[in-house]
Amino acid sequence: MYLFRKKENIELKEIKSKTHITDLLFEKTTLLFALLIIFLVFWIIYEMYKDSEASRQMFGWGFITSPEWEPVKEKFGALTFVYGTVVSSLIALAIALPVSLGIAVFLSELAPQIIKTTLSFLIEILAAIPSIVFGFWGIFVLAPFMRNVVQPFLESALGFIPFFSGTKIGFGLLTSGIVLAIMIIPIISSISRDVLKTIPQAQREAAYALGATRWEAIKMALLNAKSGILGATVLGLGRAVGETMAVTMVIGNRAQIKLSWFEPAYSMASVIANEFAEASGKLHLSALIEVGLVLFAVTFVINSMARLLIYSTTKKMTVK
């Protein structure tokens, strides 16, 4: 009896130590790949920093504040691109935010189940359409429509505002803002919907019990979800800032800073897309990589902010 037991013990021990090693091996292997992702991100940053050295040393911080971009004279400044990126992204946000909030409210509070699933699916597809298709559609459908219909209308109605007057080409800040808006609506609306869902139903019921209308109950939920919604918005902004192909195809690609939103402009991502493969020399290439570095820094800050905002809301609500 005693002997038998002892034997069993030994066997168990053997199994344990054996599995211990394979378990450890398995954990460390997966860890290795997890660390590989961290390493990759740092490598990307290092590579961009290293490859932009020539440009950074030549122009210093003046790179961001100078509007001059003349590859022939080897003069490089990124201000016009920063301007194009910022303005087109903000236009996109101004259009996308209200629409996305409407969709989020519709999806989380109003729609019956069948419509909810169908609409969510359609919005998912909208998010998955390649940006090249948006750009192509922008060139041949949206830009002529902007030139012939929207811009003349805006000028006659709001022409006293300098944003809405000027030459009507169809390609420019406003058009790229609209294309970007269509592209970021899915991300803002789906995250806002998810955030709204984490707001406890009891709060709405309490509001109804106090005699609130449906909208008032929803408004309360929206207010409670505001930091999460802000996070979704900022995430959408990050997407807009980094978007390349669609913008390249409709923004007009002219390095200038004009107040009018009808005017062509240029964005950071677009200049990289257009000039990188045919860069005229080492300094030109280095300057383009520095534009990329600036773009990276901007999107990094924007996305980190967004993630923190979203984490904080969903965590707070689910803990409760």
């Binding site: 292997t29 990759l40 969709i103 559609w137 909208w215």
Partner: protein, 290 residues
């Protein structure tokens, strides 16, 4: 107190009801507004592209301007090669990292990886293109399918990691405990039980990553570049569907525009089909877990 106050003031109530109706209507309208561009883009692309789609489109090389016919077979095969290289690199990394984050989620590294994955998913794809250019194209001195695939692989990682993590976390803890109680070691439990249970969802993530990568243009512009002919090897410039669409779209030739529309239609159809498959898989998943 407040309720009585609100109900007592009927003029106010009317105004509140009107606001209620206006806001709810606006919500419905915005939902409709989001569908319009989708439907418009889909049908416009279909209408403009379908006439150029025939067998030649999938089997022939591009013809010079002026010559009728021809296709973009090289771009389609090129895309498959580049996305394949990307998948071979991106999916294992994403999958294993996802397993780590989900199964060892209490460690600090797991949280850090989660954050860095989010950062990676937010990096504009063109920057990943610059990176691949610096690391591969500059070293090997020529554009190649490898460089393009490397860039796409990096772009696939966050999607795969995130989906893996989320799907593994859906697998009930009791299943793991049951397996461990039977004396099955942890690594085997993870691979054979947990991963298998979550496989539908993980395949979904992989499909999504592939669909997204197949449509990426920006990172390929100066990595795999482009080619009007068949690529000599994986180590030489290779045409890809999105880049070909881009080059055709910005050209002044109507014939090429038609080809580009056809290419865009192929891309959209691909995305649509994959999304549909994903939907069906995840729906079954959902029913199972309920």
């Amino acid at each position: 107190m407040e309720a009585a106050e609100l109900l007592g003031n009927s003029g106010n109530l009317k105004r509140r009801k009107v606001i209620n109706i206006i806001m709810l209507t606006l919500s419905v309208i915005s939902a409709l507004a989001a569908i319009i561009p989708l439907v418009y883009i889909f049908f416009y692309t279909a209408a403009a592209g379908i006439s150029s789609i025939n067998l030649d489109f999938f089997t022939e090389l591009p013809k010079p301007v002026g010559e009728p016919g021809g296709g973009i077979a090289n771009a389609i095969i090129g895309s498959i090669e580049i996305v394949g290289i990307g998948a071979a690199f991106g999916i294992p990394v994403g999958l294993l990292a996802g397993i780590y984050v989900a199964e060892y989620s209490k460690t600090m590294v797991a949280n850090l990886v989660k954050f860095v994955t989010d950062v990676l998913s937010g990096i504009p794809s063109i920057i990943v293109g610059i990176f691949a250019y610096g690391v591969i194209v500059l070293q090997s001195k020529n554009f190649s399918a490898f460089a393009g695939g490397f860039a796409l692989g990096i772009l696939m990682i966050p999607t795969v990691t995130r989906m893996t993590e989320e799907m593994l976390k859906l697998v009930p803890l009791s299943l793991r405990e049951a397996s461990l109680a039977l004396g099955i070691p942890r690594w085997k439990t993870t691979l054979r039980i947990v991963l298998r249970t979550a496989s539908g969802g993980i395949i979904t993530g992989i499909l999504l990553a592939i669909a997204r990568a197949a449509g990426e243009t920006a990172p390929l512009l100066f990595t795999s570049f482009g080619n009007s002919f068949w690529a000599e090897s994986l180590d030489s410039p290779t045409a890809s569907l999105p880049v070909q669409i881009f080059n055709y779209a910005i050209s002044p030739y109507e014939e090429w525009h038609n080809k580009a529309w056809a290419g865009a239609f192929v891309l959209i159809t691909l995305v649509f089909v994959i999304s549909l498959i994903v939907r069906i898989i995840t729906k079954n998943k959902f029913h199972q877990s309920v």
